[in-house]
Symmetry: D2
Subunit: 347 residues, 4 copies
């Protein structure tokens, strides 16, 4: 395996002090086949990780400018959208494999990016090289990729929940997604909305309707895997007073009547080889507890009345919704078992 020294591949983490970065540090430090070579932080450069987070890790954070790339590393970029483009460009140009956890390379067209994110894309030449890193849908493409755009947390919970129906072409276009996310999904930078007293004992809808940027990733994937259709998504995210986890309650109408058993079989068939997706027995619903501290997506299927279904979908937003999925993508890119370093999770 190229990039592997003493049997271990060197990895670097850009932006290690946010919640995604910190989760990635923990995963990669325990991963049996990689070695964390460096981790960067702009705000905390020069300090030890233990000084800026309640962890015991004594690694010193470096500024991105001081990192020297050999081209054999895997670079994980955990910067906010807009800030990731240049770092990804530089790491890609240096020959590295790059996994970008921001939104910067998730949409194939620069115009779509500009429309949803309100800024022009500054590395449009890379968009055609970027593979959307949802392994259960794009596993083979990811294997050959050098640049992976790691999916957003909400779209992961929704796209995995709807992929079997969308691919089978049986979904009516109008889809209502009512999602609830733990506060770590809002980032580690202190804001009034994430102040303990404001979020605790509260529940707040935000950006509901057709305004949240993650809709673009749902439209991209669901439109892509379906046949002759354009999904029309209504999406209502809510800020939930828990640390981690996303639960999406999804309301769909089928184009044609299918029995509960047929729908269930469609899901279990689709995911029969997916190590990280679990379809619950009919009659059960997904809860946050099913997936917290794991890389799993757990899906429940509930028929309501003829052709109307509710799909419940649960992930840990920091793992399957971010850092865990990024490691899964790395495993695929490097030709390893995609479960490496992820199966121990959940104790």
């Amino acid at each position: 395996m190229d990039g592997e020294a003493n049997g271990a591949v060197a990895v670097g983490i850009v932006g290690a002090t946010g919640y995604t970065g910190l989760t990635l540090v923990r995963l990669l430090k325990r991963h049996p086949r990689v070695q964390v070579a460096w981790m960067t932080s702009e705000s905390a450069a020069g300090r030890r990780l233990a000084e800026v987070a309640p962890v015991l890790d004594e690694d010193v954070l470096v500024p991105w400018e001081e990192v020297t790339l050999t081209g054999r590393e895997v670079v994980f970029c955990c910067l906010p959208h807009g800030a990731a483009m240049e770092v990804v460009q530089q790491a890609y140009a240096a020959g590295c494999r790059v996994i970008d956890l921001s939104a910067d390379f998730r949409l194939p067209q620069p115009e779509t990016y500009a429309r949803w994110y309100g800024v022009a894309h500054r590395a449009p030449e890379l968009l055609s090289h970027a593979v959307y890193g949802l392994p259960e849908v794009y596993r083979e493409t990811i294997r050959g990729a050098r640049l992976v755009a790691n999916p957003g947390c909400y779209p992961t919970s929704v796209n995995l929940a709807l992929y079997p129906l969308a691919r089978a072409g049986v979904l009516s276009p109008h889809i209502i997604v009512d999602s609830k996310s733990g506060v770590s999904g809002a980032g580690r930078k202190p804001k009034l909305t994430t102040h303990f007293v404001e979020a605790n004992e509260n529940l707040s809808p935000y950006n509901i309707g057709y305004t949240h940027r993650h809709i673009a990733e749902m439209e991209r994937v669901l439109g892509d895997v379906g046949r002759d259709w354009t999904p029309v998504i209504t999406f209502s995210p809510h800020l939930l007073p828990v640390n981690r986890g996303i639960l999406s309650t999804i309301y769909v109408t089928l184009r044609e009547p299918l029995s509960p058993e047929e729908v269930h079989a469609l899901y279990t068939q689709t995911y029969r080889d997916a190590a990280f997706v679990r379809v619950l027995p009919l009659g059960q619903v997904a809860t946050l507890r099913h997936t917290q501290h794991t890389n799993l997506c757990v899906i429940g299927l509930t028929p309501v009345r003829e052709r109307q279904w509710i799909i419940t979908s649960s992930i840990d937003n920091l793992l399957k919704g971010a850092a865990g999925q990024a490691v899964q993508n790395m495993n695929l890119m490097l030709g390893w078992d995609e479960r490496t370093g992820l199966l121990h999770l959940g104790a």
Copy 2:
């Protein structure tokens, strides 16, 4: 005012040690025009309230069998559905005014009750005397009532949120209600689902689709106030890790296009005299924090795309969803200002 001794009406509380009962005790003890004459408990009869709840109240609980009714009391019944019927019957027969906080008198037809609650009604003769106690819809009828069926918590949040549109006859029948409730809504009796460790850091859908009993109250009220229509409700309650509050996120389609301003005006007009309903400005969403520890229902109106709207509705399940609304109903029944004893809430 009959029933009033030294200017104070005697009130009694049946089932004072549940969350609804305890909230009612607090409200009625601070109410300027009533006197709590007795409170009952089967499990804790003979003990002081302070022994069975983290309150400082030294009143001794009595068993219902030992209560002597004069007929001038207002009796609040906080028993579970099924257990309330006989108590209500006895208090009504004694000439008391009765406010029942269970589901036993909320549905006008005994068959509907039997269908949703799985048991035959044992006091069907009283159903025609029972008024559904949602003051913003049935205020005048409540004024003359001797038996009020206090609404369920979920239906209160949903019916107030949809009443203006339903009454105007502009709602398409298919309505999706995604509700989230604090754990006090599940009662004070210990169960595994309400164990702190199971509910905390979790979110669980339960009885989703067309199975939760509160749907019957939504169908009753919305069907009643609308014209020539039968609402078709999909209802997904979720157990939320907070103590109190219900947030309902409601997805509706209008029969005809209305501008945001028209919809907003419809709501503010409908509720212009409602002391306990607040319609937020367009663009704002309701959160739990808006209503916790108050008797308010706060409503947000969000247009999505042509004819598609999201209505967010927030109440405190123990107050406007139960004990607060019961006091509001008592105030109306006794000819008082409906706000008496309820305006101080919220500090």
Copy 3:
């Protein structure tokens, strides 16, 4: 009563958008004898309160510089320590009654202030006019005061818990105070320590030992009320994942053996006329739930072994620990029943 127009005294709130300020707004708006004339905010001047907090209050915030004082107002100052001095000076000079909720006027000697707060006092001439606003200890002095220094939250919970023993002169000087506070005690300004994800599911000691500034207020009051003694306090505050409330667990040794009944009688005697202090029966402990959303201090007395006792003390940090006590002080300053506007709390 001077300052009273149409029977209502005008009150103003400086710094209305923090947690203490917001609580004060709610209390004063429901107070039957006052009228909120204005409320200030530097950061949100010109905006409505509803825009900067999850409340329904439409009052517009003004900058302090634009307030015109008649001298008949009661001015509540909710600025941070250090920032309050000048505002208090100006309001006092204008003839107003002033209640300062910061630490700026709590310590009688400017040197003590400088030692604990690290800055020189800029209004030392006012210190001798400032009365320490703990009504259960200094009620008569407060009645005549024009400037009241409202106590800190931790000292209120500790001083009320130890006052009976300290005044009786039976306490050994070494006292260990292990306090736990809800996050609203840390202020509303977003910081990493008050980020939901950092504080939730966590418990953090901070400034433990002999470093927290509130020790100065404990030494002042306990030293003052006792005889020939200097208390030696070890104080460990902890940040607790709840919104509001302080529980102090206090370890003391008596100078002489007293029976449980003697200790209990000492407390009930001391507080027999205190509307807002409740002494629990022997064998019971104070919990946060006893006092949340009330102006109460609840005290539990637990004998351990000869002469060793544990005192548990609970208050709501925003009410008896701040805004509620401030209203109690105002009531006393204006010659009213000290309970006015405070008894309804707790529903």
Copy 4:
């Protein structure tokens, strides 16, 4: 290694559906050298684990009576105290290695057990064979043991925090321990005290002073490792609204003055080979977050004034306080690296 089939040792779990049992299931299923042969439950015998807990595990629970022992298994007993004795007796008699997670074998004298637990010991002949399973203190004895009494959660946090000072003989006997525990420490059986609404937004001291049974384990270990002394412990546990974790804030006086550096060196020396104990740099305090989801004990050392110190100690009550320590003990009993199956924790 005897008992090892196909390289894997068979393990059985008695009482798998409580929080300790469920945690043990997760740890042992991921342990590289063992195979979970069976797990028992009385209340849920015949059902799959996934039916009684929010896990995905499809193993069927069996009643203890149907388990056939070969004598080569390691048996983990997660029954409550009092109920464990007979099971331990039977498994020990069958030749198994036994790790008992109840209190039944933690106290060497049957009289001490009877005094603290209020019942006579029914297997006193085994007490002399039982080794107290605190590896950092009794590692060598554990290696040869066939019966290990796994320590209580509170005593683990306290004994590890005080072991270095007690062994050095520098502790004054009076020790005050103020501990705060997550709700999982109170068991999974629903009770009013563990009801979400009662525990959430609350903090409750319970069994404070000299009454909690875990004091016996602190006296046993600290008395044992010290020289010529009898510790006099005051212990105040508090129920904390978090799922998991224990923080102990411990107030000690030294017999002789030691510099901060000397105390710190004493701790780092004592624990230099302890894989699961971390001593923080001087000036830092332990928090719950340091240890949640790990098998670590993290210790902070804070000098207060001459000879007075505060020791803060944090563990995850389900891991180092129960199931993690049990696996650590198994590893030692079987001659393996004590870290096996425990190092991955914490992501």
